[in-house]
Symmetry: C2
């Protein structure tokens, strides 16, 4: 077996010693807690021995969950439990989110699967449920995985605490895997934003595919020890100096030269950022787009415009539940955006800032503060949180940015802002090898070192442009979250590498 | 501007000195060729000065392709040119794939856009086309990007060399960007397999989304300097030892423990392989799946089964054109597969090999040779190139693999084979922290170093399993390509890092 999984068995063996020591103590503590829980379960089980209904509940023996047999039983999704299933017997599996003992003869159990929850009721009766079974239920630790078999019923009053508006009258209750009694995290927190994230990515993909874009994958291992510029992660590649790609920029342009027409990539992007801010990550999911243009880089802006308006519309229309849940934890104002995205030139932005008493170099860049202020001014004047600022000074853009035809101090480039923060950067690229060489030289780059890149424009390069977006930043700004870490399951910043 | 693109301007500055020198010589050579081409163009232009139709052709001045204006003109896609457009005037843009001079008064130009081509006809006439214009056309270098305006006509005889069965009677012809006269690569080669690739990935995504899977992204920067096992790429992460993820294994399992139910990831996977073989890459696109299981890891096999049969069906039905094109370059037999994928136990496989005179250790692994032979035997006996081999010896699987309930020498695991080569590896995972600890110890792993991983199973972990696939390998084996490099735009192997 030349397994793809086999080789990954070493990945976790990877914590530094200090962490390892801390973790060892934690493991010991957890182990003790778990032993106590197991002992309690054993006691419950012992007292159940004399119970005629003892077959209706209990901990499932390990071998039963080692793929012993396929029974053919059907599990119903908790999210699909509704009044139409009333009087039917169903089997569900989920995590015991809440357990409430009412008396020795009655208990409630809220079971959760994904984002759906249902209330299960245990009442002692002569056919299925014994007092020992109620005791077993109330002895379960929260988040333990359980199988519940029971009959769906419709309660007199609406149920407030669960997503499903029916109850399950329990007949059988088995514990598949016990959780620790003390949980360190709120599981819903972790799941929430990633769902959002997933939605944003789906819309991005669907939209671009519908507009004729082809998804590509470009290498993340790239040559060289970078000289100057933003920090990169360096590594040794079989004796050659290499680093982690900071962007698929050059590869996506080469794909355009190779005749792909319109391409996009969703993939990992690495930045050895030192900035420990609310909006920087060292590893994030980049959405990159590159396309042929016929006449004007506004064709790229048009794609940005349609794409984001479609994405915002979709999120507002279809993700109400998720957005409400975020809003409860982090109240935010809905994003204001126009049907046709506002476009202002860089100089118009500079002028607006000037009128507000802020002087900005018309050939320089905007700092974060100026961007924030401009965002506020634009909102007041144009009633939108989402707009495009274009025609940036050439000096503040990368060497491969096309200069303006009428003023070489400016460039065919744009940034897109949400709530005063930049989320997208895009431009027309230089597709003429002579001009590209000239621009590289002007920017102090040794053209010999980028020969393969420049060469790729010698074999029939169409005019083209594109843009790049950080997925986490879009989600953060759409939801007005105060920290980009909330949009990532396992964020990476200058201090966090584990888990 | 805290641009995401700005910072990538340094990426290309990354070739080692030897390569740089070689490249510099190449650039010089290319520059001379290009100067010659430009001179030729200038001559053509000069002779056109006296031409009353000189406005109908020529090189477009640089400023016109620097986003000077939006004219509102509509370009027609070459792929949509058909008889319905007969007599209509169209404007198309593409690469000049072939240029044929018939006489001083007539020339043909085949223009390509993406995978579509159309024949354009220049004939000297009194309204639009001068002899100078024909000369301009025949002087173009192949792969130059051109705009052609003309009238669609239906030829008497079918056209063999192009995808479109109409011609364009040229009225105007402008060159947007000249290509070098000598092209180093065949552009169609590069584009071909990536298209295939893209299709495979789309089907994978669509299928899994339709079955309730959630797409996630997990970090590629993971802690530690790996100890033993397969080679990893190491790097320094802000003073901490780190490496590139060899698989999202642990993170996807943690997502399952976090309540996601069913997850998948399409992302970069890194292996510091030393194997310079036809089927290993140092960086590839991994498709990873993890899901809760109710009773048996066959539930995971069922997903593999449905997913791959759907993918093969789709490719056969919808990608005939692409498959034919691959078949012309690399003839291959269509893949044989059954409606319900054949499943054999590891021991049944061992038995079949034994009957064929090949002795294999029933508690060891199959080597590549044995896998190949078994593939042939299975094909003869069951008439399929695609099958699942399950219940592997525990000793040859990673520590987190669930042992069989009835024999701890075997495991709840499987591999999937196409044409005698393994493409997928999957299994039920150990979700019980005590058993996981025991298994890690048995495999010689220091459990302290994987404490966070083991801990994640203490807070309510459902039984689960999953699998991993290398996208490039699937494409390679489906198309019976002899080298995995043909399935990747920019392959990475122990020797290749550029471009």
């Amino acid at each position: 077996m030349a397994s793809t999984e086999q080789e990954s068995s070493q990945t976790p063996a990877n914590l530094n010693k200090k962490q390892a020591k801390k973790e060892a103590q934690k493991v010991e503590r957890l182990r003790k807690q778990q032993e106590a829980a197991a002992a309690a379960a054993a006691t419950a089980l012992a007292s159940a021995e004399a119970d005629p209904f003892s077959g209706n509940y209990g901990d499932v023996p390990t071998e039963e969950i080692q793929s012993k047999a396929v029974s053919g039983r059907q599990w119903t999704e908790i999210g699909s439990l509704d009044a139409e299933l009333a009087e039917r017997t169903v089997l569900i599996r989920g995590a015991a989110q809440a357990i409430r003992s009412v008396s020795k003869k009655m208990a409630f159990l809220v079971v959760r699967q994904y984002v759906s929850t249902v209330q299960c009721v245990l009442v002692v009766n002569k056919e299925w449920v014994s007092p020992q079974m109620v005791k077993f239920a109330t002895g379960l630790s929260k988040e333990s995985i359980v199988d519940v078999e029971g009959v769906v019923s419709i309660p007199k009053d609406p149920i407030k605490g669960t997503t499903q508006q029916v109850e399950v009258q329990v007949r059988k209750l088995y514990c598949i895997n016990r959780a620790m009694p003390n949980l360190p995290i709120n599981i819903e927190d972790a799941a929430r934003s990633e769902m959002e994230f997933e939605k944003a990515e789906q819309i991005f993909r669907r939209f671009l595919l519908s507009e004729g874009f082809v998804g590509i994958h470009t290498p993340k291992l790239v040559p060289g020890s970078s000289e100057g510029g933003a920090a990169v992660f360096k590594l040794d590649y079989k004796g050659q100096p290499a680093c982690l790609a900071q962007s698929p920029q050059l590869y996506k342009q080469m794909a355009i030269c190779g005749g792909f027409g319109r391409v996009f990539e969703v993939g990992s992007v690495f930045r050895a950022e030192d900035s420990y801010t609310h909006r920087h990550l060292c590893e994030f999911v980049g959405l990159d787009v590159e396309m042929e243009i016929k006449e004007h880089y506004f064709e790229v802006c048009d794609v940005v415009d349609r794409l984001f308006v479609a994405m915002f519309d979709y999120l507002n229309e279809n993700c109400k539940k998720e957005l409400d849940s975020i809003n409860r934890q982090n109240p935010f104002e809905p994003l204001k955006y126009l049907r046709n995205t506002l476009r202002l030139t860089f100089l118009e932005g500079v002028e607006m800032l000037k009128e507000a008493g802020i002087e900005v170099d018309p050939f320089g860049d905007l700092n974060t503060e100026a961007e924030k202020t401009l965002g506020r001014l634009v909102r007041e004047k144009y009633d939108t949180d989402f707009y495009i600022l274009y025609r940036y000074p050439l000096a503040v853009r990368p060497f491969y940015t096309m200069p303006c035809y009428d003023d070489p101090a400016y460039s065919n480039s744009f940034d897109v802002f949400i709530r005063g923060e930049e989320i997208i950067s895009g431009a027309q690229r230089v597709h003429l090898p002579e001009l590209l060489t000239k621009r590289a030289e002007a920017c102090g780059i040794d053209v010999k070192t980028i020969a393969t890149y420049i060469d790729s424009f010698r074999y029939g390069a169409p005019p083209h442009g594109g843009f790049g977006v950080g997925l986490e930043r879009v989600v953060m700004l759409f939801c007005a979250l105060n920290n980009i870490r909330k949009t990532s399951l396992f964020p990476r910043d200058p201090q966090r590498l584990v888990p």
